[in-house]
Each structure stands twice: as C-alpha cells, then as structure tokens.
Symmetry: C2
Subunit: 252 residues, 2 copies
C-alpha cells in the first residue's frame, strides 16, 4: 500500500462521495483512466502550501506579493520518489513514468494540449466560476470555507452576490452554454462526428473538459436542474460525453 501514488485533493464536508475540485478531478480522471493505483490524502486549503513544501512539489505560480503560490492537485510517486504539481505536468509525468498505460497526451500534441488548456481557461472555466464558486463554498469544511471565502471575495466581492438565483444566474448559464458550444464546434471541425477531442479515445483535452463539467455534477448534484440542462446542450453532446466518464468517477 505504501508504494502506490499519493494523490493530494481538497475535501468537501462529505468526502466519501464528493471529490469536487475541477483541477484535482483532472488528475483523478487521469489516474483512473490509466488504471494506476493511488490513495487520496485530503488537504484543507490553509494546509496546501505546507503539504506541497513537505513533499517537494513546486509552486504553480507566483502570488501578487511575489511569494510562491502552491495549488492542488499534486502527487507523490514513491516508486520514483517524485513530487509533481499542476495537472498538465502530472499528466505528462504519468505518460512518461507509466508508458504501458493509456496515453493522455500523444507524442507531438503537448504544445497543442497546452494551448487548449489556455483557451479552455479563457472560455469555459471563466464562465463556470461565477456559477460554481458560491455553491462550492457551502460544501467546504470550516477551515477551507473561511480561506476560500477570504481569497475569492478579496478579488470579486461577496460570494452570495455572484450568481443569485434568477436572471443573473440564468445569464451566467447562458454565457457558459455559448462557450461550451465553441468547444463542440472545434470537436466537430473534422466533420467525422467522433465523441472525443482526438477521435474515438479519451485524451487529456477530454479529461480537462470532464474535470470541469463534473464540478457541477458533484456540487449541485446529478439530479439538479442546471446539470440536467447542461447535458442537453449541443444536441445532448455533453450528456453523452460525461456518460463516458462515469466509470472513471472513482474516488480512490
């Protein structure tokens, strides 16, 4: 057991069923899709920097005050004594360290995948945040909840004002729908009608999309009106797409 990969994730109040963080879901999906054994270590927000330093995972960016900024996901792989942070870097590491498992980022597509991460951030992710950060705050444990609220509100104002039910929230949903349609158009651009970004098989671009969409499913619930509606967008593309990920929604 001590030799399996250790995967660091952020808990919710009900960690048994709900892994919620979209960025850590990208790594969880990566591990599950590759079939690699791992165990989850749950880390509250205020402890992320300390834990990353302890295992030797690099900061993923720099704070406005110039100090290193640590984020999850991170993994520690005892078999190679390697700590890695940032889901894209983790995907590249897993492809190299475990070449006999399904490939996430095929040779030659690393730069294209990196560019996709950026455009997905600038479009879909940006539109999901006002919808999803306020309800996410409600499912965090107290230490994370206080940290999450403080850091998010210092930039964008009171969480409860971001997307109150009614026309403002409807507008955010419509904005998200427009951005997701762009992704659907890219995926259809080869005219072959394949379900995934690179064709018939899941790769890291698909995992990025699924990681973010599953956030809504996990936090609002699989029966929620918003999730049910999202699955119908683009002629049901996203419902079918997310169905393919159900078998990888394992919280190991």
């Amino acid at each position: 057991m001590s030799e399996v990969i250790i995967f660091y994730d952020i808990p919710s109040r009900d960690v048994k069923d709900v892994a919620w963080s979209p960025n850590t879901w990208k790594t969880r999906f990566s591990l599950n899709y590759k079939g690699l054994p791992y165990r989850t270590v749950w880390v509250e927000y205020p402890d992320i920097a300390r834990v990353c330093r302890e295992i030797g995972a690099e900061p993923t960016s720099t704070s406005e005050d110039g100090s290193p900024y640590y984020t999850l996901p991170a993994i520690y792989d005892p078999s190679t004594k390697t700590a890695i942070s940032e889901s894209g870097k983790i995907a590249r590491y897993l492809d190299k360290a475990y070449p006999d498992t399904p490939v996430l980022i095929p040779s030659g597509t690393c730069a294209l995948h990196a560019a996709f991460q950026e455009v997905f951030l600038m479009t879909v992710q940006r539109r999901m945040q006002p919808l999803m950060l306020p309800p996410t705050n409600n499912i965090l444990n107290p230490p994370s909840e206080a940290y999450f609220r403080r850091t998010r509100e210092s930039k964008f104002g009171k969480l409860e004002d971001w997307s109150p039910p009614g026309p403002i929230r409807e507008k955010h949903q419509e904005d998200l729908r427009v951005e997701l349609t762009k992704v659907a158009v890219w995926m259809a651009s080869d005219g072959e009608g394949k379900p995934f970004f690179m064709g018939d098989t899941i790769h890291y671009a698909d995992i990025t999309i699924a990681g973010w969409l599953v956030w809504m499913k996990k936090v609002l619930g699989p029966e929620s009106q918003e999730w049910t509606r999202l699955k119908t967008w683009d002629d049901g593309k996203w419902g079918t797409f997310m169905q393919a990920f159900e078998k990888y929604e394992i919280v190991g």
Copy 2:
C-alpha cells in the same frame, strides 16, 4: 495553367513584392509548403463579397446586421470544381484533396488545431492589430484603403490614434511580447526543445503563427526596428522560427 488552384488574396500598392494579409498568408504558406501550383487573383476589399459569391465560396461569418460576411482567403480548385473560404477549412481541404503532399493538420489533431486558432486569436492576433492595422492601411490601394479605414474606424476610432510612435506603441509591443512568450512556453512544454508546434516538422499551427508574424515583416519591412526586435524575443526563438518559413515566402 487554367487547371492550377486559384488563390484569392488582397493586394497592396506594390503587389509584386508584398503580399501582406496575415489570414491569406496562412493559405499562401499552406500552398507553398505543400508545393501545390497556384496562381494569385488579387481582389480589392470592396470586391471580396462579389468575387466570393461568383466562385461559390461561403461567407465566413455574419455581419452585425445579419447579412453574410465574406472574407479572404478563398481558393477555387478547378480540378475538383470546389470553392473554399477560411484558411482552416482550406487547410483541411488541401490535406484531403492532395494526400501525397505534406500534411498540415495530422489525423486526430483537427479539434486541437481549431482550439489553437481561437486562443491565438484571443492572444497574439488581438495584440498585433493595434500595431499593424494603421501601417497596413497606408500600403493599400485607394479603394481598399477607404473600405479598410471605414470598417475599422467605425469600431475602434481613428486609425492614426491606435498606436502613435512613443509610449503607446511601445506598450502595444510589450503586450505582444507577453502573448508570444505564452506561445513559446506552450511549444517548450514537452521539454524537448523542438522548433515547431508538433516537433521537427511544420504543421498548420506553425503556419498560423508565421502568417501573422510575417505581416509585420512585410508591412514594416525586414530591416525595421520592430521586426528586428521581435526576432530576438524568447531567446531568439521567433527569428529562428521565421527563418524556416523564408523559403515559403513565395508570392506565386
């Protein structure tokens, strides 16, 4: 001669040496890289819609008033009696119609390439426009110059105010440098130090970048201070990168 592909491009006052339009350069580079014979038909801006309708090329978007919007590049291929507009669609057509020529968009990367087009538009292209639209206006023939000025100024104000020499233009250059560095970072993300987006060989993502960068070289001149400076950015990456395209800068 009548059987070669006809390529529709926008002239400058000195068409012999200067094909300038970044979007049409994407198709010109595509044709030159594939080694496909073609002849250029030069179309002034006010004639683009008429010419596209005559050859049967589709509009590439919709104007704000709901009318179809026609743009170049477009090609007409007499051997298949096909007219295509939009450089990405043209690249996909050329790959299918001429499978024995170098591939622009490898199988499975069509959606990733489409996503790259979008992020390149949102980053580098957006930052090049204030730098390059005003000097471009100065090299157009009178009918295109009037059309270009009217359509651009109706949205963004007097062309001469966009990037006057001095601190405003310096700022636009710095903004462009920042965005190009992002592209360099994506290209370096596999850690292999290869010169192009997918490795050692030119593909359509590279042609997209080259098409836009060559705009500066053509309009400001290869000896201009701004072009000379751009080539030094990211440790000289863009100078080396554009050198690889010099043999495809043929105006056929």
